[in-house]
């Protein structure tokens, strides 16, 4: 944890952190699915191709990152791809946090659900669906969770006004 160096690119992370259990697991599983990586402020972020997020979660889970903490998203409007889906995964064994990311386009705002890997992703994915409008394919019960069922729009999107539409 005392490392304060910053590794901003994938090449630098792969070169200097090749022994990291999560990176090893991802590389052993499918090196092409890892589209980006960075190490910043003591936190490792791995960006995974959207189609393969579920398998990536399975790979890091098998490598000891056993406890999903949260699933959320960031709206980078008007950039493309627009959404960044974020998975925070804790390892009880290594006492370390790992962040997986996947970029999702606005036109096809959908990503595979990771509920088969961690049942606890259920509510978090519903929340992201509710507030960002990103669909999770294969989710058992993808309904709104915080907003009323009949609500129109997704409030945490950047083009949704803070005061709402009046």
């Amino acid at each position: 944890m005392s490392e304060t160096k910053t590794l901003p690119t994938k090449a630098a992370v792969l070169e200097q952190m090749a022994e990291h259990p999560a990176i090893k697991a991802i590389l052993a599983w499918n090196a092409t699915a890892l589209t980006d990586a960075k190490f910043d402020r003591g936190e490792l972020t791995l960006t995974i191709a959207r189609e393969q997020i579920r398998q990536a979660c399975e790979a890091v889970k098998a490598a000891g990152y056993n406890a999903l903490q949260t699933v959320t998203a960031v709206d980078w409007y008007p950039a493309a791809p627009r959404f960044q889906v974020v998975y925070q995964i804790l390892s009880h064994k290594y006492k370390e946090m790992l962040r997986l990311c996947a970029m999702v386009d606005e036109a096809d705002a959908a990503i595979g659900s990771i509920t088969p890997v961690w049942a606890g992703a259920n509510y978090y994915e519903r929340e992201v669906f509710d507030l960002f409008g990103i669909r999770f394919e294969g989710h058992p019960n993808l309904r709104r969770i915080l907003m009323p069922e009949e609500w129109v729009g997704h409030p945490l999107r950047k083009d949704y006004p803070v005061e709402g539409y009046r």
């Binding site: 402020r41 003591g42 009880h92 259920n122």
Partner: protein, 406 residues
């Protein structure tokens, strides 16, 4: 009365088709045992719970969205309102996340004060849990006792921050102000007598056969389920997972404190009760260590462009006045990046995911609160059990609806 009607229908179809003829029972959102505006829609088969659908969102105020429209320092009072039973923990987690983004070192005294306040907050949170949990089970007296001690704690919070509940005392870069004269003595006298109070609660409950029988073997949650359902904190530790953020991923100099992490293999409501009771004793020890070893020094980081100047400096020095004006009117820019900071709150692992785009307002603040995940586990804990146990289970996961709905 008429022999032609009723007799065969009464016997056969009810027994045969009972699996399909579940009754739907609504509990809440206005119900004293749901600890807020929680609505549970339960499918029941007689007295047995088949499914539980929590309906949440009644308290949703869009705090995460509001944060995006505020300066970094203006978010601190918003965080108070999320977990309203543990305000200092919210402040601490947010402040740590932003300080991580800023890479701002915090003076020792501020760190130790934060530990002390975080532990007092944990006591506050656990006291409310214990009182309401016991009240749900039918032991009303404990509620009166725990709220007596909670009142002392709220007075301590009021003395240090000016507010009983919405304290906003832990700020980005340190603390809001120096604690007043005599404050440490007040905390000391509270800490000195508190272990006896825990014994008092324990005397009322632990040996009480009615209480014990309502709790033992109820709300079973296996270790695998606890991790899979993202359950954290005392509920996870009562299922036998030995992980505490304070010990295993220390923040705010928790590594300098000695304390035990209570773990139990009971996996039931009773184990959670014992774990939390033990946690209160350990918290008291941490508070004592913090009081004994409180370092000297400043309570704010030396960062004039981020931390508001002292009142006197602001009134007498031009520089300080300019900084004050700049911070209040324009905020301060935070370098671009993303961080996730987690702490151990009274309920479990609290996490703030803060994304900065380099401006003075957070680009995204996501709050990960333990109750949200614990509520998912409710169905697992209640399925196939009696409907009366649902109340005991809700009490044992210690949910706060403010942090679920945000």
């Amino acid at each position: 009365m008429n022999p032609d009607v009723g007799t065969p229908i009464l016997e056969a179809p009810v027994a045969e088709g009972s699996r399909d003829q579940h009754m739907v029972l609504n509990m809440g959102p206005q119900h004293p045992a749901t600890h807020g505006v929680l609505r549970l829609v339960m499918e029941i088969d007689g007295e047995i719970v088949v499914r539980v659908y929590p309906e949440i969102g009644y308290l949703h105020t869009g705090i995460e969205k509001t944060c995006e429209a505020k300066f970094y320092q203006q978010v601190v009072p918003l965080t108070d309102r999320v977990d309203y039973l543990g305000p200092m923990a919210n402040n601490l987690c947010y402040a740590l996340a932003v300080e991580k983004l800023l890479e701002l070192p915090i003076p020792d005294k501020a760190q130790w004060m934060r530990v002390l306040l975080a532990e007092l907050t944990r006591l506050n949170s656990h006291l409310i849990w214990l009182g309401t949990h016991a009240m749900d089970i039918g032991a009303l007296t404990v509620f009166l006792y725990t709220f007596r001690e909670r009142e002392d704690l709220l007075r301590i919070f009021e003395a240090v921050s000016g507010q009983r509940m919405m304290t906003s005392y832990i700020r980005i870069g340190g603390l809001a102000m120096e604690p007043p004269l005599g404050w440490f003595e007040r905390v000391q006298s509270f800490i000195r007598t508190f272990p006896e109070k825990i014994d008092e609660y324990s005397n009322l409950l632990t040996g009480n056969p009615i209480f014990a029988n309502r709790l033992k073997g109820v709300g079973y949650l296996s270790a695998e389920d606890a991790v899979a359902l993202a359950v954290t904190g005392p509920v996870m530790r009562a299922s036998g997972i030995d992980f505490d953020t304070r010990r295993d991923m220390p923040y705010s100099s928790y590594e300098k404190f000695q304390f035990k992490v209570p773990v139990s293999d009971g996996c039931d409501v009773w184990a959670r009760y014992l774990c939390r009771l033990e946690e209160m004793r350990e918290s008291t020890k941490i508070c004592q260590q913090a009081l004994d070893g409180m370092p000297e020094g400043r309570i704010k980081a030396d960062a004039p462009k981020i931390v508001l100047p002292d009142r006197e400096a602001m009134k007498t020095q031009m520089e300080a006045l300019i900084h004050h004006f700049k911070i209040v009117t324009e905020g301060f820019a935070v370098p671009a990046g993303e961080v996730y900071q987690q702490i151990e709150s009274g309920h479990g692992q609290m996490g703030y995911y803060v994304v900065s785009d380099g401006s003075a307002k957070p680009y995204r603040v996501h709050m990960r609160y333990p109750s949200f995940a614990d509520l998912q586990a409710l169905e697992t804990m209640c399925q196939g059990r009696l409907i009366a146990d649902v109340v005991a289970v809700i009490g044992s996961i210690d949910i706060v609806l403010g942090e679920i709905d945000r």
